[in-house]
């Protein structure tokens, strides 16, 4: 009878409105959060979006600089100034070899003989986009690992090999080839074995481990101090307009494509955050709406509730019906959201797996959904109990 009486006080259209908007908000928030977690390792693996947001800069080479080569180097003052810019998060310089380097192969049947002059540079390991166990150097071992730009291999395979009638090489094949490196300077020389251990998309240079180059520059280098012609810069926000403005002003050259990719991914992340924000707004609105709606129901039926209290129904018993109603709607909405979010996830996982090598991570939809449900049930039940008590107990 109590239920029959209180059922009449509910506004069905308002409850349906809440259930739908709440369902939409929760579905978006659960799907987007899980989507973000799913693709996060993918993005951090393939790009620098979540880590460094970095780019390589150098000075523009003009006709005057070909005459006075000193002008292509960054001075300490210039580097310090770069460090102090608001858009700069961190800065690191390229270390260049100041000794002579030759690479050559011994005559074998499988590999053509070659002999070439070479240069080396190094960057701190944290800026490398290559993961390999072979990237270390020990003075006791006569072996130097080398990383070359991905573009170099393409240049060889589709340009040089084509015109010279040489075989094309896969990354795997080229990584098997061992060749010799001879470094010389300061009237001494030393020979090493070497191999290409990786290909970088990010750093356009022939890289060796930083500690090797520091050591070798001391042993064989022409000067005590190495000069810096290229700088790796890590941005706080790659879409900051001040970056390009500053570089143009100082006549620094930047790999804009790299920055564009960072920008694109930054905007992608921003879009996800924006959608998440909208979902949070929808949820907050729907939660506020239903709380206000129930408050209105309680206020509008004040007399009925007081009468119930006066004939012996305590405020907890009067609240129970409204607490159960709001809890039931919320539970149904969240369960529906969890089902739909899981369906959406299954669809996009199939799509991602079609294009990218992808390792599925844990599904947090249920955990997020039920945690939110628990939180809301506590809030709703406490609010309704408080409001009913306020009305009936004078």
């Amino acid at each position: 009878m109590l239920q029959k009486l209180q059922k009449r006080t509910l506004n069905v259209s308002q409850i349906i409105g809440y259930a739908l908007t709440f369902f939409v908000g929760i579905t978006i928030i659960l799907s987007i959060s899980q989507f973000y977690l799913d693709i996060k390792p993918l993005l951090s693996k393939h790009t620098d979006m979540f880590k460094s947001k970095s780019a390589v800069i150098n000075k523009n080479i003009s006709i005057f600089k070909t005459i006075d080569k000193e002008k292509i180097y960054f001075t300490d003052i210039e580097i310090n100034e770069l460090k102090e810019q608001s858009f700069t998060k961190d800065i690191s310089v390229f270390n260049s070899a100041t000794f002579k380097i030759n690479a050559y192969t011994n005559k074998t049947e499988s590999i053509p003989v070659f002999y070439t002059d070479l240069f080396f540079e190094s960057v701190p390991d944290k800026y490398l986009d290559v993961e390999t166990d072979e990237w270390n150097w020990k003075a006791s071992l006569d072996f130097i690992p080398i990383i070359i730009p991905d573009n170099y291999l393409k240049l060889y395979n589709f340009g040089f090999a084509e015109s010279q009638g040489l075989p094309v090489l896969s990354k795997n094949t080229i990584s098997q080839i061992e060749f010799n490196i001879k470094i010389s300077g300061n009237n001494k020389s030393k020979e090493y074995k070497s191999k290409i251990v990786g290909f970088s998309n990010k750093v356009n240079s022939i890289l060796v481990p930083d500690d090797f180059l520091s050591w070798a520059n001391k042993e064989f280098g022409r000067t005590d101090k190495t000069k810096t012609s290229r700088v790796l810069i890590e941005f706080n926000n790659p879409s900051d307009d001040a970056i390009l403005e500053y570089f143009n002003k100082n006549n620094y050259s930047i790999n804009k494509d790299e920055l564009e990719l960072s920008k694109l991914l930054f905007f992608f992340k921003l879009a996800l955050i924006f959608v998440l924000f909208i979902a949070v707004v929808i949820i907050l609105l729907s939660v506020s709406f239903i709380v206000l709606s129930f408050n209105y129901i309680i206020q509008r039926n004040k007399e009925l509730l007081i009468n119930l209290y006066n004939i012996g129904y305590n405020h907890n018993r009067i609240s129970t019906f409204y607490q159960l109603s709001i809890s039931l709607i919320t539970v149904v909405s969240i369960i529906a959201s969890i089902i739909v979010s899981n369906f959406i996830r299954s669809r996009y996982l199939v799509e991602i797996a079609r294009f990218l090598e992808f390792k599925e991570i844990h599904n947090y939809i249920h955990l997020f959904g039920f945690s939110l449900l628990l939180l809301l049930l506590i809030v709703y039940n406490a609010l309704i109990a408080r409001n009913v008590k306020k009305i009936v107990v004078q």
Binding site: M1, N307, I311, G312, Q394
Partner: protein, 219 residues
């Protein structure tokens, strides 16, 4: 043993210097209740509170029942003033409100059962028999919203009888009843009050001959 039981079952309500906040001292100068040093109600006696309209008859019953606290002064229940009245009235106080406080969307039977399910004081048969007695047997399943005022008044009185009590508060209970129905209802009330060894506090514009009052108080 008998004496102990009698003492345990004894109940009194005592008013000390009670006055509604919204009434001035001048308005209540000749009252037997308001602003009196002590007004005692004992459970096995019947009291009539008599006054003209607008004198605060409903207010005094609401103060005693605890559903209106806009008064100054003290009301003691068995000598104690700070009772949890909600729990206290479950077994000690029943009230027939002047405006009935019935639920128009429920039927006659449902209105009575809404109270009786809390107390389980009367059986369904007893309720049906009482409805027959007050000539509402055929209205058992009618919505209260469709009843006349006199019929509603009878339903409200029957509902109030569906609980144990030491005092039955009645606020102008016969205002919409004819002579025949007054007789029927007063018989039922007298029977129930006697059965429960309870007292009556009844408000009215005039004197009522249907009950034997131990004390008549002018408000």
């Amino acid at each position: 043993m008998i004496i102990t039981n009698t003492l345990c079952n004894y109940m009194s309500i005592e008013l000390h210097n009670v006055k509604p906040i919204y009434m001035s001292d001048a308005e209540i100068s000749a009252s037997d209740i308001y602003l009196q040093k002590s007004v005692l109600f004992e459970h096995n006696k019947n009291y009539l509170i008599k006054a003209n309209s607008g004198s605060g008859k409903t207010s005094i019953l609401n103060f005693i029942y605890g559903c209106n606290t806009n008064f100054i002064g003290v009301i003691n229940y068995d000598g104690v003033s700070n009772h949890n009245l909600f729990d206290f009235r479950k077994s000690k106080l029943s009230y027939v409100f002047q405006d009935f406080k019935l639920f128009p969307d429920l039927t006659v039977f449902e209105n009575i059962q809404l109270k009786n399910t809390l107390t389980n004081y009367k059986t369904v048969e007893e309720i049906c028999s009482l409805l027959d007695e007050v000539l509402l047997g055929d209205k058992k399943d009618s919505l209260v919203g469709k009843l006349s005022l006199g019929q509603k008044q009878r339903v409200a009185i029957l509902r109030a009888l569906c609980q144990p009590f030491k005092f039955l508060l009645l606020d102008e209970p016969f205002s919409h009843l004819d002579k025949e129905n007054r007789q029927i209802i007063s018989n039922i009330i007298n029977r129930e009050v006697k059965k429960q060894n309870a007292g009556l506090i009844l408000t009215s514009l005039d004197e009522i001959a249907l009950f034997s009052f131990d004390k008549i108080l002018n408000l």
